[in-house]
Symmetry: C2
Subunit: 322 residues, 2 copies
Protein backbone atom coordinates (compact mmCIF):
# COMPACT_ATOMS: atom_id res chain seq x y z
CA UNK A 1 0.00 0.00 0.00
CA UNK A 2 2.98 2.34 0.57
CA UNK A 3 3.44 2.62 -3.18
CA UNK A 4 0.26 4.69 -3.40
CA UNK A 5 1.85 7.46 -1.33
CA UNK A 6 3.84 10.09 -3.25
CA UNK A 7 5.65 13.15 -1.92
CA UNK A 8 2.51 15.10 -2.87
CA UNK A 9 0.10 12.91 -0.88
CA UNK A 10 -1.47 14.96 1.93
CA UNK A 11 -0.56 13.67 5.41
CA UNK A 12 -2.85 13.76 8.44
CA UNK A 13 -2.51 12.90 12.09
CA UNK A 14 -5.10 10.41 13.36
CA UNK A 15 -5.67 9.99 17.10
CA UNK A 16 -7.77 7.33 18.80
CA UNK A 17 -8.48 7.96 22.47
CA UNK A 18 -9.84 4.85 24.18
CA UNK A 19 -10.43 3.89 27.79
CA UNK A 20 -7.51 1.44 27.73
CA UNK A 21 -5.07 2.79 25.13
CA UNK A 22 -4.31 5.93 23.17
CA UNK A 23 -3.14 5.45 19.62
CA UNK A 24 -1.70 7.78 17.00
CA UNK A 25 -0.98 7.33 13.31
CA UNK A 26 0.38 9.44 10.49
CA UNK A 27 -1.76 8.72 7.45
CA UNK A 28 -1.39 9.57 3.78
CA UNK A 29 -4.84 10.09 2.26
CA UNK A 30 -5.53 9.83 -1.49
CA UNK A 31 -9.29 9.90 -2.07
CA UNK A 32 -10.55 7.20 0.24
CA UNK A 33 -7.24 5.32 0.31
CA UNK A 34 -5.58 5.68 3.71
CA UNK A 35 -1.97 4.54 4.10
CA UNK A 36 -0.49 4.48 7.58
CA UNK A 37 3.09 5.79 7.50
CA UNK A 38 3.91 5.60 11.20
CA UNK A 39 2.08 4.71 14.39
CA UNK A 40 2.28 4.58 18.18
CA UNK A 41 0.23 3.07 20.99
CA UNK A 42 0.46 3.52 24.76
CA UNK A 43 -1.74 3.04 27.85
CA UNK A 44 -4.35 5.68 28.67
CA UNK A 45 -3.23 7.46 31.88
CA UNK A 46 -5.58 7.16 34.86
CA UNK A 47 -4.52 10.19 36.89
CA UNK A 48 -5.94 13.26 35.10
CA UNK A 49 -7.15 14.87 31.89
CA UNK A 50 -3.79 16.68 31.66
CA UNK A 51 -1.96 13.36 31.70
CA UNK A 52 -4.25 12.04 28.94
CA UNK A 53 -3.56 15.10 26.75
CA UNK A 54 0.19 14.67 27.39
CA UNK A 55 -0.01 11.00 26.38
CA UNK A 56 -1.88 11.85 23.15
CA UNK A 57 0.70 14.51 22.29
CA UNK A 58 3.60 12.16 23.06
CA UNK A 59 1.95 9.43 21.00
CA UNK A 60 1.47 11.85 18.08
CA UNK A 61 5.17 12.85 18.26
CA UNK A 62 6.24 9.19 18.35
CA UNK A 63 4.10 8.46 15.26
CA UNK A 64 5.65 11.49 13.51
CA UNK A 65 9.14 10.18 14.37
CA UNK A 66 8.21 6.73 13.06
CA UNK A 67 7.07 8.34 9.77
CA UNK A 68 10.12 10.61 9.60
CA UNK A 69 7.89 13.71 9.51
CA UNK A 70 7.24 16.89 11.50
CA UNK A 71 3.90 18.41 12.54
CA UNK A 72 4.41 21.13 9.92
CA UNK A 73 4.26 18.40 7.25
CA UNK A 74 0.63 17.64 8.20
CA UNK A 75 -2.59 19.22 6.93
CA UNK A 76 -4.70 18.64 10.04
CA UNK A 77 -5.57 16.07 12.71
CA UNK A 78 -8.65 14.00 13.53
CA UNK A 79 -9.34 12.51 16.94
CA UNK A 80 -11.76 9.73 17.83
CA UNK A 81 -12.93 10.02 21.45
CA UNK A 82 -15.61 8.59 23.75
CA UNK A 83 -18.75 10.73 24.01
CA UNK A 84 -21.01 12.44 24.63
CA UNK A 85 -19.10 15.31 23.06
CA UNK A 86 -19.63 18.34 20.82
CA UNK A 87 -17.99 17.51 17.50
CA UNK A 88 -18.33 21.12 16.33
CA UNK A 89 -16.28 22.61 19.19
CA UNK A 90 -14.22 19.57 20.25
CA UNK A 91 -15.49 19.75 23.84
CA UNK A 92 -16.08 16.37 25.55
CA UNK A 93 -19.21 16.72 27.73
CA UNK A 94 -18.54 13.70 29.88
CA UNK A 95 -16.56 10.49 29.39
CA UNK A 96 -17.03 8.22 32.42
CA UNK A 97 -14.00 6.05 31.56
CA UNK A 98 -11.57 8.98 31.22
CA UNK A 99 -10.40 10.69 34.43
CA UNK A 100 -11.23 14.41 34.53
CA UNK A 101 -13.11 14.50 31.23
CA UNK A 102 -16.04 16.73 32.17
CA UNK A 103 -16.72 19.65 29.79
CA UNK A 104 -13.13 19.20 28.66
CA UNK A 105 -11.95 21.19 25.58
CA UNK A 106 -10.01 18.30 24.05
CA UNK A 107 -9.80 19.71 20.51
CA UNK A 108 -8.49 23.09 21.63
CA UNK A 109 -5.95 21.58 24.05
CA UNK A 110 -4.57 19.16 21.45
CA UNK A 111 -4.58 21.86 18.77
CA UNK A 112 -2.53 24.24 20.93
CA UNK A 113 -0.01 21.56 21.87
CA UNK A 114 0.43 20.23 18.34
CA UNK A 115 0.06 23.43 16.31
CA UNK A 116 -2.63 21.82 14.14
CA UNK A 117 -6.38 21.98 13.63
CA UNK A 118 -7.70 18.97 15.57
CA UNK A 119 -11.19 17.76 14.64
CA UNK A 120 -12.66 15.69 17.48
CA UNK A 121 -15.59 13.35 16.99
CA UNK A 122 -17.33 10.55 18.89
CA UNK A 123 -15.71 7.16 18.38
CA UNK A 124 -18.82 5.63 16.80
CA UNK A 125 -19.25 8.60 14.44
CA UNK A 126 -15.60 8.40 13.41
CA UNK A 127 -15.98 4.68 12.82
CA UNK A 128 -19.10 5.27 10.71
CA UNK A 129 -17.22 7.87 8.64
CA UNK A 130 -14.38 5.38 8.13
CA UNK A 131 -16.71 2.55 7.12
CA UNK A 132 -18.70 4.95 4.87
CA UNK A 133 -15.69 6.26 2.93
CA UNK A 134 -13.34 3.27 3.00
CA UNK A 135 -15.15 0.25 4.43
CA UNK A 136 -18.30 -1.84 4.53
CA UNK A 137 -20.74 1.07 4.13
CA UNK A 138 -19.23 2.44 0.90
CA UNK A 139 -21.90 3.64 -1.49
CA UNK A 140 -24.71 3.48 1.09
CA UNK A 141 -26.63 6.73 1.68
CA UNK A 142 -28.74 5.17 4.44
CA UNK A 143 -26.89 2.97 6.90
CA UNK A 144 -26.49 2.20 10.56
CA UNK A 145 -23.14 1.46 12.18
CA UNK A 146 -23.17 -0.70 15.30
CA UNK A 147 -20.25 -1.66 17.51
CA UNK A 148 -20.62 -4.52 19.97
CA UNK A 149 -17.64 -4.84 22.30
CA UNK A 150 -17.37 -3.75 25.96
CA UNK A 151 -20.41 -1.56 25.31
CA UNK A 152 -22.91 -1.27 22.46
CA UNK A 153 -22.82 1.96 20.46
CA UNK A 154 -23.71 3.22 17.05
CA UNK A 155 -24.23 5.96 14.51
CA UNK A 156 -26.99 6.60 11.98
CA UNK A 157 -26.58 8.00 8.46
CA UNK A 158 -29.77 9.03 6.64
CA UNK A 159 -29.87 10.30 3.05
CA UNK A 160 -26.09 10.78 3.10
CA UNK A 161 -26.08 12.81 6.32
CA UNK A 162 -25.27 11.73 9.83
CA UNK A 163 -28.18 11.92 12.26
CA UNK A 164 -26.71 14.11 15.00
CA UNK A 165 -29.80 15.19 16.92
CA UNK A 166 -30.53 18.37 18.82
CA UNK A 167 -27.46 18.16 21.07
CA UNK A 168 -25.19 15.89 19.03
CA UNK A 169 -25.79 12.69 20.99
CA UNK A 170 -27.97 10.77 18.50
CA UNK A 171 -26.95 7.21 17.65
CA UNK A 172 -26.87 5.62 21.10
CA UNK A 173 -28.44 2.45 19.76
CA UNK A 174 -27.32 0.37 22.73
CA UNK A 175 -29.69 2.35 24.91
CA UNK A 176 -32.95 1.54 23.19
CA UNK A 177 -34.93 -0.53 25.72
CA UNK A 178 -35.77 -3.94 24.27
CA UNK A 179 -37.41 -5.31 27.43
CA UNK A 180 -40.01 -3.84 29.77
CA UNK A 181 -39.19 -3.27 33.45
CA UNK A 182 -42.08 -5.55 34.52
CA UNK A 183 -40.61 -8.57 32.73
CA UNK A 184 -38.96 -11.00 35.17
CA UNK A 185 -35.17 -10.83 35.39
CA UNK A 186 -34.66 -7.76 33.22
CA UNK A 187 -31.13 -6.48 33.83
CA UNK A 188 -30.37 -2.86 34.68
CA UNK A 189 -27.96 -1.20 32.25
CA UNK A 190 -24.83 0.72 33.24
CA UNK A 191 -26.74 3.86 32.19
CA UNK A 192 -29.24 3.19 34.96
CA UNK A 193 -32.21 2.19 32.78
CA UNK A 194 -33.74 -1.28 32.77
CA UNK A 195 -33.70 -3.46 29.65
CA UNK A 196 -31.36 -1.58 27.28
CA UNK A 197 -29.99 -3.69 24.42
CA UNK A 198 -26.53 -3.03 25.87
CA UNK A 199 -27.53 -4.55 29.22
CA UNK A 200 -28.11 -7.90 27.48
CA UNK A 201 -25.67 -7.98 24.61
CA UNK A 202 -22.55 -5.93 25.31
CA UNK A 203 -19.49 -7.90 26.40
CA UNK A 204 -19.13 -6.44 29.88
CA UNK A 205 -22.80 -6.87 30.79
CA UNK A 206 -23.02 -10.34 29.30
CA UNK A 207 -20.02 -11.47 31.37
CA UNK A 208 -21.46 -9.95 34.55
CA UNK A 209 -24.90 -11.49 34.02
CA UNK A 210 -23.36 -14.93 33.49
CA UNK A 211 -20.76 -14.55 36.27
CA UNK A 212 -17.84 -15.19 33.91
CA UNK A 213 -14.63 -13.18 33.42
CA UNK A 214 -15.46 -12.05 29.88
CA UNK A 215 -17.83 -12.53 26.97
CA UNK A 216 -15.64 -15.18 25.33
CA UNK A 217 -15.92 -17.30 28.49
CA UNK A 218 -19.72 -16.97 28.42
CA UNK A 219 -19.95 -18.16 24.80
CA UNK A 220 -17.53 -21.01 25.56
CA UNK A 221 -19.55 -22.09 28.62
CA UNK A 222 -22.80 -21.95 26.64
CA UNK A 223 -21.24 -24.05 23.89
CA UNK A 224 -20.12 -26.55 26.54
CA UNK A 225 -23.72 -26.89 27.76
CA UNK A 226 -23.82 -24.67 30.84
CA UNK A 227 -27.52 -23.76 31.16
CA UNK A 228 -27.00 -20.39 32.90
CA UNK A 229 -24.55 -19.23 30.24
CA UNK A 230 -26.86 -20.56 27.51
CA UNK A 231 -29.77 -18.49 28.88
CA UNK A 232 -27.62 -15.35 28.90
CA UNK A 233 -26.48 -16.04 25.33
CA UNK A 234 -30.09 -16.59 24.23
CA UNK A 235 -31.13 -13.29 25.86
CA UNK A 236 -28.24 -11.47 24.15
CA UNK A 237 -29.29 -12.94 20.81
CA UNK A 238 -32.92 -11.96 21.41
CA UNK A 239 -31.87 -8.41 22.32
CA UNK A 240 -29.75 -8.06 19.17
CA UNK A 241 -32.60 -9.53 17.11
CA UNK A 242 -35.05 -6.98 18.54
CA UNK A 243 -32.55 -4.17 17.91
CA UNK A 244 -32.10 -5.29 14.29
CA UNK A 245 -35.87 -5.49 13.66
CA UNK A 246 -36.34 -2.06 15.24
CA UNK A 247 -33.56 -0.53 13.16
CA UNK A 248 -34.99 -1.99 9.93
CA UNK A 249 -38.57 -0.88 10.68
CA UNK A 250 -37.77 2.55 12.08
CA UNK A 251 -34.76 3.64 10.01
CA UNK A 252 -35.06 1.54 6.83
CA UNK A 253 -31.30 1.48 6.15
CA UNK A 254 -29.77 -0.30 3.17
CA UNK A 255 -26.96 -1.62 5.35
CA UNK A 256 -26.35 -2.38 9.02
CA UNK A 257 -22.57 -2.52 9.51
CA UNK A 258 -21.61 -4.38 12.67
CA UNK A 259 -18.16 -4.04 14.24
CA UNK A 260 -16.57 -4.52 17.65
CA UNK A 261 -14.81 -7.44 19.29
CA UNK A 262 -17.94 -9.42 20.23
CA UNK A 263 -19.30 -9.18 16.67
CA UNK A 264 -15.92 -10.15 15.22
CA UNK A 265 -15.43 -13.19 17.43
CA UNK A 266 -19.02 -14.45 17.61
CA UNK A 267 -20.63 -13.72 14.23
CA UNK A 268 -22.96 -16.74 14.58
CA UNK A 269 -24.35 -15.23 17.81
CA UNK A 270 -24.50 -11.65 16.48
CA UNK A 271 -24.94 -11.30 12.70
CA UNK A 272 -26.84 -14.59 12.46
CA UNK A 273 -29.70 -13.75 14.85
CA UNK A 274 -29.93 -10.20 13.47
CA UNK A 275 -30.33 -11.44 9.90
CA UNK A 276 -32.80 -14.18 10.85
CA UNK A 277 -34.97 -11.78 12.86
CA UNK A 278 -35.14 -9.17 10.11
CA UNK A 279 -36.13 -11.84 7.58
CA UNK A 280 -38.77 -13.31 9.89
CA UNK A 281 -40.19 -10.28 11.69
CA UNK A 282 -39.45 -6.91 10.01
CA UNK A 283 -41.77 -5.37 7.42
CA UNK A 284 -41.23 -6.72 3.92
CA UNK A 285 -39.99 -3.55 2.20
CA UNK A 286 -37.29 -2.63 4.76
CA UNK A 287 -36.31 -6.30 5.16
CA UNK A 288 -35.76 -6.55 1.40
CA UNK A 289 -33.77 -3.31 1.36
CA UNK A 290 -31.25 -4.10 4.11
CA UNK A 291 -28.10 -6.23 4.42
CA UNK A 292 -26.42 -6.92 7.77
CA UNK A 293 -22.67 -6.98 7.12
CA UNK A 294 -19.51 -7.15 9.24
CA UNK A 295 -17.45 -3.98 9.57
CA UNK A 296 -14.38 -4.15 7.36
CA UNK A 297 -11.81 -1.81 8.92
CA UNK A 298 -11.05 -3.89 12.04
CA UNK A 299 -9.14 -2.40 14.99
CA UNK A 300 -7.80 0.50 12.84
CA UNK A 301 -11.32 1.82 12.21
CA UNK A 302 -10.85 4.72 14.66
CA UNK A 303 -7.56 5.81 13.09
CA UNK A 304 -8.77 5.45 9.49
CA UNK A 305 -12.02 7.27 10.30
CA UNK A 306 -10.17 10.07 12.14
CA UNK A 307 -7.77 10.55 9.19
CA UNK A 308 -10.64 10.65 6.66
CA UNK A 309 -12.75 12.96 8.83
CA UNK A 310 -9.79 15.34 9.23
CA UNK A 311 -9.27 15.33 5.47
CA UNK A 312 -12.95 16.05 4.76
CA UNK A 313 -13.26 18.75 7.39
CA UNK A 314 -9.97 20.48 6.54
CA UNK A 315 -11.16 20.64 2.91
CA UNK A 316 -14.53 22.09 3.92
CA UNK A 317 -16.28 18.95 2.62
CA UNK A 318 -17.56 17.76 5.98
CA UNK A 319 -21.14 18.98 5.59
CA UNK A 320 -22.44 15.46 5.16
CA UNK A 321 -21.57 14.46 8.68
CA UNK A 322 -21.85 17.79 10.49
CA UNK B 1 -59.36 33.17 9.65
CA UNK B 2 -61.19 33.80 6.34
CA UNK B 3 -60.05 37.42 6.38
CA UNK B 4 -56.49 36.26 5.69
CA UNK B 5 -57.54 34.93 2.28
CA UNK B 6 -57.50 37.40 -0.61
CA UNK B 7 -58.32 36.81 -4.27
CA UNK B 8 -54.56 36.40 -4.78
CA UNK B 9 -54.13 33.67 -2.13
CA UNK B 10 -53.08 30.43 -3.83
CA UNK B 11 -55.64 27.62 -3.45
CA UNK B 12 -54.82 23.93 -3.09
CA UNK B 13 -56.81 20.73 -2.91
CA UNK B 14 -56.09 18.61 0.17
CA UNK B 15 -57.16 14.96 0.26
CA UNK B 16 -57.08 12.65 3.26
CA UNK B 17 -57.61 8.98 2.45
CA UNK B 18 -58.31 6.95 5.59
CA UNK B 19 -59.55 3.42 6.19
CA UNK B 20 -62.94 4.70 7.37
CA UNK B 21 -63.50 8.02 5.58
CA UNK B 22 -62.16 10.05 2.69
CA UNK B 23 -62.01 13.79 3.17
CA UNK B 24 -61.33 16.70 0.85
CA UNK B 25 -60.74 20.37 1.48
CA UNK B 26 -60.00 23.45 -0.57
CA UNK B 27 -57.33 25.40 1.29
CA UNK B 28 -55.95 28.88 0.86
CA UNK B 29 -52.28 28.90 1.86
CA UNK B 30 -50.39 32.07 2.85
CA UNK B 31 -47.00 31.13 4.25
CA UNK B 32 -47.85 28.57 6.90
CA UNK B 33 -51.39 29.86 7.39
CA UNK B 34 -53.90 27.38 5.99
CA UNK B 35 -57.54 28.50 5.65
CA UNK B 36 -60.10 25.89 4.70
CA UNK B 37 -62.58 27.36 2.20
CA UNK B 38 -64.71 24.29 1.56
CA UNK B 39 -64.74 20.67 2.63
CA UNK B 40 -66.37 17.28 2.16
CA UNK B 41 -66.29 13.92 3.93
CA UNK B 42 -67.74 10.55 2.91
CA UNK B 43 -67.21 6.85 3.75
CA UNK B 44 -64.29 5.00 2.15
CA UNK B 45 -65.72 2.46 -0.32
CA UNK B 46 -64.98 -1.19 0.42
CA UNK B 47 -65.44 -2.71 -3.03
CA UNK B 48 -62.41 -1.71 -5.10
CA UNK B 49 -59.54 0.71 -5.70
CA UNK B 50 -61.57 2.20 -8.57
CA UNK B 51 -64.42 2.98 -6.19
CA UNK B 52 -61.99 4.63 -3.77
CA UNK B 53 -60.56 6.84 -6.53
CA UNK B 54 -64.10 7.76 -7.60
CA UNK B 55 -65.00 8.69 -4.02
CA UNK B 56 -61.89 10.88 -3.68
CA UNK B 57 -62.69 12.64 -6.95
CA UNK B 58 -66.34 13.14 -5.97
CA UNK B 59 -65.25 14.45 -2.57
CA UNK B 60 -62.81 16.87 -4.23
CA UNK B 61 -65.58 18.15 -6.52
CA UNK B 62 -67.96 18.59 -3.57
CA UNK B 63 -65.29 20.58 -1.70
CA UNK B 64 -64.76 22.75 -4.82
CA UNK B 65 -68.51 23.36 -5.01
CA UNK B 66 -68.58 24.29 -1.32
CA UNK B 67 -65.77 26.81 -1.93
CA UNK B 68 -67.37 28.11 -5.13
CA UNK B 69 -64.25 27.24 -7.15
CA UNK B 70 -63.21 25.07 -10.10
CA UNK B 71 -60.19 22.76 -10.41
CA UNK B 72 -58.58 25.30 -12.74
CA UNK B 73 -58.53 27.75 -9.81
CA UNK B 74 -56.14 25.44 -7.90
CA UNK B 75 -52.34 25.28 -7.99
CA UNK B 76 -51.96 21.60 -7.09
CA UNK B 77 -53.22 18.86 -4.76
CA UNK B 78 -51.75 16.95 -1.83
CA UNK B 79 -53.02 13.59 -0.67
CA UNK B 80 -52.42 11.89 2.67
CA UNK B 81 -52.66 8.09 2.35
CA UNK B 82 -51.85 4.95 4.33
CA UNK B 83 -48.46 3.40 3.54
CA UNK B 84 -46.14 1.91 2.67
CA UNK B 85 -46.02 4.03 -0.46
CA UNK B 86 -43.54 5.79 -2.73
CA UNK B 87 -44.01 9.51 -2.13
CA UNK B 88 -41.87 10.36 -5.17
CA UNK B 89 -44.08 8.52 -7.69
CA UNK B 90 -47.38 8.46 -5.79
CA UNK B 91 -47.61 4.66 -5.97
CA UNK B 92 -49.07 2.93 -2.89
CA UNK B 93 -47.13 -0.32 -2.36
CA UNK B 94 -49.66 -1.95 -0.12
CA UNK B 95 -52.40 -0.65 2.17
CA UNK B 96 -54.04 -3.56 4.02
CA UNK B 97 -57.11 -1.51 5.00
CA UNK B 98 -57.89 -0.30 1.44
CA UNK B 99 -59.40 -2.82 -0.99
CA UNK B 100 -57.28 -3.32 -4.10
CA UNK B 101 -54.43 -1.06 -3.06
CA UNK B 102 -51.44 -3.13 -4.14
CA UNK B 103 -48.84 -1.31 -6.25
CA UNK B 104 -51.60 1.18 -7.02
CA UNK B 105 -50.67 4.44 -8.87
CA UNK B 106 -52.87 6.67 -6.72
CA UNK B 107 -51.16 9.97 -7.61
CA UNK B 108 -51.36 9.39 -11.36
CA UNK B 109 -54.98 8.20 -11.25
CA UNK B 110 -56.12 11.20 -9.19
CA UNK B 111 -54.06 13.59 -11.30
CA UNK B 112 -55.65 12.36 -14.53
CA UNK B 113 -59.17 12.56 -13.11
CA UNK B 114 -58.75 16.02 -11.59
CA UNK B 115 -56.42 17.65 -14.11
CA UNK B 116 -53.98 18.60 -11.34
CA UNK B 117 -50.57 17.56 -10.02
CA UNK B 118 -51.39 15.35 -7.04
CA UNK B 119 -48.58 14.83 -4.51
CA UNK B 120 -49.20 11.70 -2.43
CA UNK B 121 -47.46 11.03 0.89
CA UNK B 122 -47.81 8.66 3.84
CA UNK B 123 -50.32 9.87 6.44
CA UNK B 124 -47.71 10.13 9.20
CA UNK B 125 -45.31 12.05 6.93
CA UNK B 126 -48.08 14.45 5.90
CA UNK B 127 -49.00 14.94 9.55
CA UNK B 128 -45.34 15.62 10.43
CA UNK B 129 -45.14 18.20 7.62
CA UNK B 130 -48.32 19.86 8.93
CA UNK B 131 -47.08 19.94 12.53
CA UNK B 132 -43.64 21.16 11.36
CA UNK B 133 -44.93 24.09 9.30
CA UNK B 134 -48.10 25.04 11.16
CA UNK B 135 -48.30 23.09 14.42
CA UNK B 136 -46.50 21.81 17.50
CA UNK B 137 -43.16 21.14 15.77
CA UNK B 138 -42.71 24.67 14.39
CA UNK B 139 -39.09 25.78 14.58
CA UNK B 140 -37.75 22.31 15.43
CA UNK B 141 -35.10 20.91 13.07
CA UNK B 142 -34.96 17.59 14.93
CA UNK B 143 -38.28 16.13 15.95
CA UNK B 144 -40.28 12.94 16.02
CA UNK B 145 -43.99 12.80 15.24
CA UNK B 146 -45.96 9.97 16.84
CA UNK B 147 -49.61 9.11 16.37
CA UNK B 148 -51.32 6.79 18.83
CA UNK B 149 -54.81 5.81 17.72
CA UNK B 150 -55.97 2.52 16.16
CA UNK B 151 -52.30 1.87 15.35
CA UNK B 152 -49.04 3.50 16.37
CA UNK B 153 -47.12 5.29 13.62
CA UNK B 154 -44.62 8.04 13.21
CA UNK B 155 -42.18 10.09 11.21
CA UNK B 156 -38.65 11.31 11.98
CA UNK B 157 -37.15 14.67 11.00
CA UNK B 158 -33.39 15.07 11.47
CA UNK B 159 -31.49 18.28 10.80
CA UNK B 160 -34.50 19.72 8.97
CA UNK B 161 -34.90 16.70 6.66
CA UNK B 162 -37.30 13.82 6.89
CA UNK B 163 -35.66 10.44 7.49
CA UNK B 164 -37.07 8.42 4.58
CA UNK B 165 -34.76 5.42 4.49
CA UNK B 166 -33.60 3.30 1.59
CA UNK B 167 -37.10 2.43 0.35
CA UNK B 168 -39.13 5.27 1.85
CA UNK B 169 -40.61 3.32 4.76
CA UNK B 170 -38.61 4.81 7.66
CA UNK B 171 -40.54 6.10 10.68
CA UNK B 172 -42.51 2.99 11.67
CA UNK B 173 -41.91 3.72 15.34
CA UNK B 174 -44.76 1.48 16.48
CA UNK B 175 -42.82 -1.51 15.26
CA UNK B 176 -39.74 -1.20 17.42
CA UNK B 177 -39.84 -4.24 19.72
CA UNK B 178 -39.90 -3.13 23.36
CA UNK B 179 -40.22 -6.64 24.83
CA UNK B 180 -38.32 -9.85 24.15
CA UNK B 181 -40.17 -12.94 22.86
CA UNK B 182 -39.01 -14.98 25.88
CA UNK B 183 -40.76 -12.68 28.35
CA UNK B 184 -44.01 -14.20 29.64
CA UNK B 185 -47.22 -12.92 28.06
CA UNK B 186 -45.64 -10.82 25.33
CA UNK B 187 -48.34 -10.02 22.74
CA UNK B 188 -47.88 -10.62 19.03
CA UNK B 189 -48.36 -7.48 16.94
CA UNK B 190 -50.61 -7.23 13.88
CA UNK B 191 -47.40 -7.11 11.83
CA UNK B 192 -46.55 -10.63 13.03
CA UNK B 193 -43.64 -9.73 15.32
CA UNK B 194 -43.73 -10.22 19.09
CA UNK B 195 -43.44 -7.28 21.47
CA UNK B 196 -43.80 -4.24 19.18
CA UNK B 197 -44.71 -1.00 20.98
CA UNK B 198 -47.93 -1.00 18.90
CA UNK B 199 -48.91 -4.43 20.25
CA UNK B 200 -49.09 -2.97 23.77
CA UNK B 201 -50.11 0.65 23.31
CA UNK B 202 -52.20 1.16 20.16
CA UNK B 203 -55.95 1.42 20.71
CA UNK B 204 -56.98 -1.69 18.79
CA UNK B 205 -54.39 -3.95 20.43
CA UNK B 206 -54.99 -2.57 23.90
CA UNK B 207 -58.73 -3.26 23.55
CA UNK B 208 -58.10 -6.80 22.27
CA UNK B 209 -55.62 -7.63 25.05
CA UNK B 210 -58.05 -6.42 27.70
CA UNK B 211 -61.12 -7.98 26.05
CA UNK B 212 -62.97 -4.66 25.85
CA UNK B 213 -64.72 -3.00 22.89
CA UNK B 214 -62.25 -0.10 22.60
CA UNK B 215 -59.36 1.67 24.29
CA UNK B 216 -61.65 4.11 26.12
CA UNK B 217 -63.38 1.16 27.78
CA UNK B 218 -60.04 -0.28 28.90
CA UNK B 219 -58.96 2.99 30.52
CA UNK B 220 -62.39 3.33 32.17
CA UNK B 221 -62.25 -0.24 33.53
CA UNK B 222 -58.71 0.30 34.85
CA UNK B 223 -59.83 3.51 36.57
CA UNK B 224 -62.73 1.58 38.12
CA UNK B 225 -60.28 -0.92 39.61
CA UNK B 226 -60.48 -3.88 37.19
CA UNK B 227 -57.13 -5.64 37.69
CA UNK B 228 -56.89 -7.14 34.17
CA UNK B 229 -57.52 -3.78 32.53
CA UNK B 230 -55.08 -2.13 34.94
CA UNK B 231 -52.33 -4.57 33.95
CA UNK B 232 -52.95 -3.85 30.25
CA UNK B 233 -52.84 -0.11 30.91
CA UNK B 234 -49.61 -0.50 32.90
CA UNK B 235 -48.06 -2.49 30.05
CA UNK B 236 -49.15 0.16 27.52
CA UNK B 237 -47.60 2.87 29.68
CA UNK B 238 -44.37 0.87 30.05
CA UNK B 239 -44.21 0.33 26.29
CA UNK B 240 -44.70 4.05 25.57
CA UNK B 241 -42.12 4.87 28.25
CA UNK B 242 -39.59 2.51 26.62
CA UNK B 243 -40.36 3.99 23.20
CA UNK B 244 -39.84 7.52 24.53
CA UNK B 245 -36.52 6.64 26.19
CA UNK B 246 -35.35 4.91 23.02
CA UNK B 247 -36.34 7.86 20.83
CA UNK B 248 -34.51 10.30 23.13
CA UNK B 249 -31.34 8.18 23.34
CA UNK B 250 -31.20 7.11 19.70
CA UNK B 251 -32.54 10.15 17.84
CA UNK B 252 -31.95 13.02 20.30
CA UNK B 253 -34.87 15.13 19.04
CA UNK B 254 -35.74 18.51 20.49
CA UNK B 255 -39.43 17.66 20.39
CA UNK B 256 -41.60 14.54 20.39
CA UNK B 257 -45.02 15.58 19.04
CA UNK B 258 -47.73 13.10 20.01
CA UNK B 259 -51.08 13.01 18.21
CA UNK B 260 -53.87 10.51 17.63
CA UNK B 261 -57.10 9.77 19.46
CA UNK B 262 -55.57 7.73 22.32
CA UNK B 263 -53.00 10.46 23.05
CA UNK B 264 -55.70 13.15 22.88
CA UNK B 265 -58.13 11.40 25.22
CA UNK B 266 -55.65 9.87 27.68
CA UNK B 267 -52.75 12.33 28.05
CA UNK B 268 -52.10 11.18 31.63
CA UNK B 269 -51.54 7.63 30.35
CA UNK B 270 -49.52 8.69 27.29
CA UNK B 271 -47.62 11.99 27.62
CA UNK B 272 -47.20 11.55 31.38
CA UNK B 273 -45.36 8.21 31.34
CA UNK B 274 -43.26 9.27 28.34
CA UNK B 275 -42.09 12.45 30.10
CA UNK B 276 -41.43 10.69 33.40
CA UNK B 277 -39.42 7.91 31.76
CA UNK B 278 -37.25 10.30 29.76
CA UNK B 279 -36.51 12.33 32.90
CA UNK B 280 -35.70 9.21 34.96
CA UNK B 281 -33.99 6.92 32.46
CA UNK B 282 -32.69 8.64 29.30
CA UNK B 283 -29.17 10.07 29.08
CA UNK B 284 -28.88 13.53 30.58
CA UNK B 285 -28.05 15.50 27.41
CA UNK B 286 -30.90 14.19 25.24
CA UNK B 287 -33.32 14.30 28.21
CA UNK B 288 -32.49 17.98 28.72
CA UNK B 289 -32.88 18.69 24.99
CA UNK B 290 -36.33 17.19 24.43
CA UNK B 291 -39.92 18.19 25.16
CA UNK B 292 -42.85 15.79 24.76
CA UNK B 293 -45.79 17.86 23.50
CA UNK B 294 -49.30 17.16 22.22
CA UNK B 295 -49.92 17.58 18.49
CA UNK B 296 -51.77 20.82 17.80
CA UNK B 297 -53.58 20.34 14.49
CA UNK B 298 -56.19 17.82 15.71
CA UNK B 299 -58.33 15.85 13.23
CA UNK B 300 -57.50 18.28 10.37
CA UNK B 301 -53.80 17.42 10.53
CA UNK B 302 -53.96 15.29 7.37
CA UNK B 303 -55.73 18.01 5.36
CA UNK B 304 -53.50 20.83 6.61
CA UNK B 305 -50.36 18.75 6.01
CA UNK B 306 -51.50 17.74 2.53
CA UNK B 307 -52.22 21.37 1.59
CA UNK B 308 -48.83 22.56 2.89
CA UNK B 309 -46.97 19.67 1.26
CA UNK B 310 -48.67 20.40 -2.08
CA UNK B 311 -47.71 24.07 -1.76
CA UNK B 312 -44.06 23.24 -0.95
CA UNK B 313 -43.72 20.63 -3.67
CA UNK B 314 -45.50 22.68 -6.36
CA UNK B 315 -43.09 25.53 -5.59
CA UNK B 316 -40.07 23.22 -5.80
CA UNK B 317 -39.32 23.83 -2.11
CA UNK B 318 -39.98 20.26 -0.98
CA UNK B 319 -36.33 19.14 -0.78
CA UNK B 320 -36.43 19.11 2.99
CA UNK B 321 -38.86 16.25 3.17
CA UNK B 322 -38.01 14.38 -0.03
Amino acid sequence: MGSEVTPLTPRYLALDLGGTNVRAAIAGVEGSLVTILGRDERPTPRESAEAIVAALVASARAALDAAGLRASDLVAAGCSAPGPLDHRTGVVHEAPNLTGFVAFPLGARLGAALGLDVFVDRDTATAAIGEALAGAARGARDFVYLTISTGLGGAIVSGGRMVRGASGTAGELGHWPVALPSCAGVPRCGCGAPGCAEAFAAGKNLAERAGRPDAAAVYAAAAAGDPGAATCVRDAEEALAALAVGIANVLNPERIVVGGAVAEHEPAHVLGPMRAAIAARAFRAPAAAVRVVPASLGPDVGLVGAALAACERAAGRGEWFL
